[in-house]
């Protein structure tokens, strides 16, 4: 039996009568890069928000490492090792990239509530933070104001910040969205690089990226799973071709 890091059972979400996600049974295998694709409005981001508890499921359950996490809160999920990124780059714009990464590292120090201590005690994290920035090619921008960085670099910073938590499962919401070609290749390589020793679930529109990266693909349509399997298999599925592939190559 395959080792599932994350599993959902009949996960559903309704918004005032509109079913955004309907009876989704997702199985994410440990160590895989798993892609979630589907046409606009298929419910991909809703599934993401359900998995990370930014939304509460109407019914169904979510299991992480065989533990039921359906009722847990967002921050608790993060402590368990599920860390997400956002569709619109999620950085702290008025802080430096170094501070951004340090914020992810600082939780482990256990001083986050210590308002009477000087923040100079965070300097001990600088080395680790610089390593992470270096890994995503941002070392030279460590002291800039994050908000002024180019878009691709903000996304890279977001990945560095997520990595700082050393998550078991990384959820990436459209990591290459809104990027130029050269940035897309960089981020693709980066995702590949960081996938070592962890599991990644990503929502992605760019099928080239999906084809390059994903071990397994789930296709969503109107909130329900349409097909699941390796890229080669799914991309030949006539149902998928009709529902998704046809409309996406425009």
């Amino acid at each position: 039996m395959p080792d599932h890091i994350l599993a959902t059972n009949n996960l559903s979400k309704e918004f005032k009568g509109f079913t955004a996600v309907s009876a989704v049974n997702l199985r994410i295998q440990r160590g895989h890069i798993h892609a979630l694709i589907g046409p606009n409005g298929a419910g991909k981001t809703t599934v993401f928000n359900l998995l990370t508890k930014f939304l509460i499921p109407t019914s169904g359950s979510i299991h992480f490492n065989s533990t039921d996490i359906t009722r847990e809160k967002s921050a608790d999920i993060a402590l368990r090792g599920i860390v997400r990124s956002f569709q619109i780059s999620a950085v702290f714009p008025n802080l430096t990239p170094l501070e951004n990464v340090r914020l992810a590292l600082q939780r482990k120090l256990g001083v986050s509530y210590h308002f009477w201590k000087s923040d100079s005690i965070l300097k001990q994290l600088d080395g680790r933070a610089m390593d992470l920035l270096d890994a995503v090619g941002l070392a030279e921008y460590a002291g800039e104001i994050t908000g002024e960085l180019a878009y691709g670099r903000k996304r890279a910073l977001e990945i560095a910040t997520t990595l700082a938590l050393d998550p078991e499962l990384m959820l990436l919401d459209e990591p290459t969205q809104g990027m130029g070609v050269e940035d897309v290749d960089k981020i693709t390589a980066l995702v590949k690089k960081v996938s070592y020793n962890r599991t990644i679930l990503m929502v992605e529109h760019n099928l080239k990226v999906v084809a390059t990266l994903a071990d397994r693909i789930t296709v969503l349509q109107r909130g329900a799973i349409l097909a699941e399997g390796p890229y080669a298999e799914v991309s030949q599925d006539p149902q998928v071709l009709e529902a998704y592939m046809g409309s996406s190559h425009d």
Binding site: R84, F86, F92, P93, N94, L103, V111, W116, L165
Partner: protein, 313 residues
Amino acid sequence: MNKILWIILIVLGLVAPFIVYPVFMMKLLCFALFASAFNLLLGYTGLLSFGHAAFFGGASYITGQLVKISGLTPELGILGGTLFAALLGYIVGSLAIRRQGIYFAMVTLALAQIVYFIALKAPFTGGEDGLQGIPRGKLLGMIDLGHVYTVGGSPVALNLYYFVFALFCFGFWIIYRTINSPFGQVLKAIRENEPRAVSLGYKVERFKLMAFVISAALSGMAGSMKSLVFQLASLTDVSWHTSGEVVLMTLLGGVGTVLGPLAGAFTVVTLQSELSSVGSWITVIIGVTFVICVLLFRRGLVGELGRVLKRSL
């Protein structure tokens, strides 16, 4: 550079009672602390409270009660007022942080109005008259805060001034420390991008509540100080005007800057005292000043200065 600035400010604070009218200076210190405490919430956590007068005024009533009726020494009176404000802050904060943005502001306003109503109706607050003639008392039972020295021919309550100045420095230091602490870093993260802070595993509600309580406690300390300075705790201190005034001071000076609230409090308190002869027109003048400031320098006085100097002040 920063150190020199701080030393200059402290020296100015120490010699101020010999140069300017000391009561004006003490009023300024009270409001500067109040605005700084408020700024900790608005500027560094991104929470707009519209009910901070409840802590400021509530604490001044408690201090008045403790000193005047129970006959406690002033430092205990101030401690009591501050603790009361912290407790009230915990209650108001617990209810308000469940909501965000404008709803947060509305909850704080509504709860502050309840405090105002209690202050108006309860027997121990003196209703419309307020608590008058609050004694300044003897600090630690030894130093008479009411003692008046003659400086250049005019009476100056130097003991009280330095007591107030020391309290201000202490309160301001706590705020400064909080802003520049690991805790402060998380607050800034929440201000910048709350969902991201959550996804990094921070329980933002706890952080917000803690910031709220610290801010409320120090606002209370400022109110307690004011009740000793003016020997009066009145309805004005708990009214929504005061809540609005502190928003104005903070925005005027520069929200999210360390020195901004001081500059804002200085501007507003100076305008109020210099223009006190024009009567109710003062509200109009301050209002117009505020509008001009917001239109011309959106970051506030200190914020714009910091932008010109390319450093955070």
